[in-house]
Symmetry: T
Subunit: 75 residues, 12 copies
């Protein structure tokens, strides 16, 4: 197909260690059901605090992937 179409979904990954790890977690989870993930963009970085320390990094990403002709863009 000459003109591919991509779909973007929005995920929030979490991690106790780093921003990068939270992004990795989100992408790994999406990869279990979507095999053609192509790119991501960080939308927001938040987190929760316990006793004066960062307990959990929460990073929201938009993830883009190609929609091929057999897989439906189910809503």
């Amino acid at each position: 197909m000459q003109d591919p179409v991509y779909k973007l979904i929005e995920l929030t990954g979490t991690s106790t260690t780093s921003i990068e790890d939270a992004v990795d977690k989100a992408i790994q989870r999406a990869h279990q059901t979507l095999k053609n993930l192509s790119w991501f963009q960080v939308v927001e970085t938040r987190g929760s605090i316990t006793e004066g320390k960062v307990r959990q990094w929460q990073v929201t990403v938009k993830v883009g992937f190609t929609v091929d002709n057999t897989a439906a863009t189910s809503a």
Copy 2:
């Protein structure tokens, strides 16, 4: 699972009565197929007008929910 992953979807609820009711309608509808809805954020508040009165409130929300290991992040 120690590091949960969330997915966000975007819905527009409508109501003839109030902003809160439009949000409720969107969440109730999503709950029919997604049982683990966790939080929402209002993205936009619009509406249509008929004869100088608000006919319909249209409130767009992002709704977040946990993605467990058995349910797929189908696109």
Copy 3:
């Protein structure tokens, strides 16, 4: 149903010719599996360049459609 609920999905259409064609491509692709598409909004217009010419227009759109009672808002 008196108070309809809509879902919005985000797609990137591509085209070698124009912005309008890229939007058309994204909507045609979504229409293969979603029959009740209602409106769209252009979110971003980007593209790739080869040898000093636009090779591909990449236009990201949000597409809204009614969620009826039988079709699930599957995530």
Copy 4:
């Protein structure tokens, strides 16, 4: 006319009771002189405070209406 043109004006409605009432007030007032109001979008929600209570809700909306061929888009 096949390709209608709309004009948008910006109004701030006020109310002592609710956000919805402030929007209604703005639209009712505009309707006194503009009979073809079609849609609105909430732009900003502010208010004034007296003795620790909300005294007045101030909601700014953009209101769109069709410009027909006989009515001028007077500035």
Copy 5:
């Protein structure tokens, strides 16, 4: 007058063919009653969909024009 003042109005032009045509339609319509239009800025590009095709492009523009001393900035 050494220091001119401009007014900006917001219009949504529509077209079944292209973004450019929708902008043209909005400007042509404004020109019927405002003869000194000077510049425009695209604010938003949306559209409606029918049966998987773009039915109508809806492009919102801000249009600026000089306010001379005889013409009032009527609200």
Copy 6:
């Protein structure tokens, strides 16, 4: 004082019933220690969900108040 100075603080009020009630709660709480609250602006509207219903509205507001000469702008 001819040229007053205002300070703005950011609060998130919560309510199980409505957006307006959440704003009221935030302002009432601030009024316990700040007697000269003057205006507010809604910054964000979020909420939590339990079993497909809105459990809690969470509305973030900026609240402005006059800083007089005796009260310090303590940080």
Copy 7:
């Protein structure tokens, strides 16, 4: 009237001397036809350059004014 309604218009004032003067120019001009101007907000500050010097400050403001019951919110 207990719940006043305001209208906002957008103007660009110009000046060869300062930002403040450009805002003053826009408001003075609007005051020729609108007697109840109440507040303004600076939206954008631009300018033109001639031979390495600022030739003209161009400051765009939104100006709000009360809409009374006799004056129409003509579009």
Copy 8:
């Protein structure tokens, strides 16, 4: 301390003469109780109008200052 921490507060200064003077007023007032102010950023420029003239410039600034070890980041 090798890695200093700063706090930002938001103030609105007012002036009948200029934007710069309104900023100065806000900073002078904050300096009465906070001795280590370091930088500021203009967030918003508004004002009130009386009889077609700017009566008061209202400039909102974020002001940053170092939080030393003895002074508390009291809320």
Copy 9:
């Protein structure tokens, strides 16, 4: 208390090593005087450069915490 109120403050943490460390520094410092910190959101990531290397990461966060009934929302 059924409807808690939260306050948000804005801090800039700094670090010579990483973004995460700068956030940690800001939260640790706030924790010295505020014991009920709950969540944070990254607002801006900047830094200073010395001899072609990042010398200091400067990360601005909004930090939210519950305001209980005995602690005042002092300004």
Copy 10:
């Protein structure tokens, strides 16, 4: 080189015919001196008006290109 670095420049292309043509003009011009242009993003779409018609489309794009080791990132 395993970790390429890109530079982005901002250009405004103009055209009497279309948005796409204005983007093409900007990219063709940049290509005269920069041979490795890679991608672009539309930042703003404006234009000038003469006698009720669009006289010139003015489209601002950010253009990205790889910075190789021999070519300097001259400022």
Copy 11:
């Protein structure tokens, strides 16, 4: 050339006296090497503070200028 191309660069001018002077300084400096500066837009207004007074205004502007056929758009 019928369809000119412009380039935009971003500069921060500084001044101890006013916002306008900081913009002038940035433009004068750019004019030393770029003779065809055409327009500017204020992007951000910040400053530094010493002993409770504004020590330096720091105003960031985007400056546009025509790219002629002999001068290269060097990166």
Copy 12:
């Protein structure tokens, strides 16, 4: 020179390991030709994905540096 002028350029650094490393890469590259880099600001964080893992972090930064009197602000 009492009132320095700064220039800002926009770069995208890439890295297979972390966000911080991508920023370092961009700054090191710019330092090869620009010796007076002063500060940076992260504008966007994106990346590419291969087989469900982050393959490349792509971080766009604005980098500021002093423009001295001998070095030209070449465009």
